[in-house]
Symmetry: C2
Subunit: 358 residues, 2 copies
């Protein structure tokens, strides 16, 4: 029997609720494959700020680095909204990503047949969408130096950031996208703004160069403004979208909304070796926190990604994915994905139904 | 009778076709209000590259600066796609915007009742959308210094750009947005990424400060990733969206696609005083250029914006807008907005129908 160390970072808002469900589901599905876990639960985000004064305590980062994989809930809340930048919950998340070096963020956007009506797109446009955004996660304008504030000649305030990519940063995330596309439909659309930005010109050049290592993959390029349009016009045209940190932030949220069920979408953040970070793409939803209303499925599916991409335990991952589909087929829905004729359940009850389905 | 000087920049691809129609419509509508025009037609984009070797000849910029308003078609085409950056048609457009100092780009996205089915969004989501993106156009990462390429310590190539905003750049475009919102529903949503970027922190701070001058306007703030989602989830929540150059590029294209008819959407680029630049938001569509298939309505509506925002000739502008609605009511459609039961027309015939409707 195999044992893994999991760092559990529930975070804020609905984070603890969805993590609790995901942990139960993960345990049960894995146990059927002879897998066991040792968990280390650590504070992060607003919870860590309240406890320790910083959004990512050293102990949390250390525990994460020492683990085999990290399951993370969500961070943020009204309470910390006006904090200075270095004391914002979000800063803790950025420090965690950077500290772990997880440069490749995989964000699948799948329209579940059972939920196609939840999309605001017409049925024929939404049906069958199954795309994956591969977002560069530890570079670009999120981390580029120099950054900050200065005073102009006339005394006015100036704010600035640097969008910067080095060839190797592009190369390694491009390889992740190409490798992933191999397991999918074999098509990569690289999104940039090479008609304006030098950082994008290099991006396009390197992605094109790396593509030569993958003759079986079809590579196309698209400007980011057009990509935002095409996601709305005909999302089915996409298989794998490869893009930088800030464009990936925007496009993956757009892609997720196309599925109509942001409460369903997981993500994985990976590096070549070392533990991966697995989290739902939704936020901490402070408005419904503690009310047992949250949809745990995005976090549950993140646990499935943890098994598949983090530990290479595909069979256990498939058990979780199948249980999610089965539970949807049976008609169980949290409020965010409810439609007439279904059975409305809370976060905990959804968890119990998942356990029954495994 | 009033006379104005108009610089006419047809550009590339379908540019000349749609400009020809817009010019006829502009002339006729204006003549009924006692307005006359002197046109100066100048090369720009790929056409200028072929003719003079640069995408924005000095003479073109001078003629534009000397005019009362500029009507521009579109630029770009396969032929120049592999040109180095300073010889790309797009670079000419950026130089024109910067040279004119038109820092405020107004991009309305309206779902025309006649075309609601053209949207890929469900009828109930698309119906009634009427929003305006106010995009900062001469600053930010499009023009920020330093920018370029350098070599890293390990010899690898690095590409970089600077996202930078000074207080006054933010203040002046914010005022345009607030003033515009006054003529609309009085709500401004400022979009930034203040949880990550210093340039956005300053953006939010200045927009909030300027809002104090407009107590009648309701200001809200939204992160750009969420805005991309909300445009798909519930576009009707927006009245005026105020944002920076790069986010505005992405969000205005997304907003236009929500209307399902990018061939319908005009834009105006303005400064405090001096001539404004008016152009359709669509591109040069080289695949259908010269085939009389282009939809001229975006350029025609840009001519209406030229009258309204550029020359203060509201009555003539209203004549054009009314003619567009009337022509749509009569069922005339170019291919891009065609639906069963309508009358399919080419670019020229659409122009003739518009003249009949005026
Ligand atoms: C919370 C925020 C810093 C974060 C980001 O911008 O990366 C979030 O939007 C995301 O996409 O995970
Ligand atoms: C052609 C390109 C440089 C331009 C931009 O990015 O501003 C275009 O996309 C636009 O939105 O007008």
């Amino acid at each position: 029997s195999r044992r893994y160390n999991i760092a559990l970072l529930p975070g804020d808002g609905i984070g603890p609720e969805v993590i609790a469900v995901a942990k139960d589901v993960l345990n049960f599905a894995a146990s059927l494959e002879g897998i066991g876990f040792d968990y280390k639960e650590m504070p992060m985000g607003g919870a860590a700020l309240d406890l320790t004064g910083v959004p990512l305590p050293d102990e949390t980062l250390l525990a994460a680095k020492d683990s085999d994989a990290i399951l993370f809930g969500a961070i943020g809340g009204y309470k910390w909204d006006d904090n200075p930048k270095h004391l914002k919950p979000e800063t803790g998340l950025l420090q965690l990503r950077k500290g772990l070096g997880v440069f490749a963020n995989l964000r699948p956007a799948i329209v579940f047949p059972q939920l196609v009506e939840a999309s605001t797109l017409k049925r024929e446009v939404a049906e069958g969408v199954d795309l994956m955004v591969v977002r560069e996660l530890t570079g670009g304008i999120y981390f580029g130096q120099p950054r900050g504030f200065k005073t102009g000649e006339n005394g006015e305030e100036i704010g600035f950031n640097t969008e910067v990519y080095a060839a190797q940063e592009i190369d390694r995330v491009a390889r992740v996208a190409f490798n992933n596309a191999r397991k999918r439909q074999g098509r990569v659309c690289s999104v940039d703004k090479a008609n304006v930005l030098e950082a994008s010109i290099l991006w396009r050049k390197r992605v094109t160069a790396i593509a030569a290592e993958y003759p079986d993959i079809e590579l196309s390029h698209m400007y980011v403004d057009n990509a935002a349009m095409q996601l709305i016009r005909e999302p089915k045209q996409f298989d794998t979208i490869l893009t930088n940190n800030i464009f990936g932030d925007i496009l993956s949220d757009a892609a997720s909304m196309i599925t109509g069920s942001i409460g369903m979408l997981p993500s994985a953040s990976l590096r070549e070796s070392g533990p991966g970070l697995f989290e739902p793409i939704h936020g901490s939803a402070p408005d419904i926190a503690g009310q047992d209303k949250a949809n745990p499925l995005a976090t549950v599916l993140s646990a499935a990604m943890l098994l598949k991409y983090g530990l290479g335990e595909e069979n256990a991952a498939k058990r979780i994915e199948a249980a999610v589909l089965d539970t949807l087929d049976k008609g169980f829905r949290t409020g965010d994905i409810y439609s007439a004729g279904c059975k409305r359940v809370g976060c905990k009850e959804m968890g119990e139904e998942l356990l029954k389905s495994i």
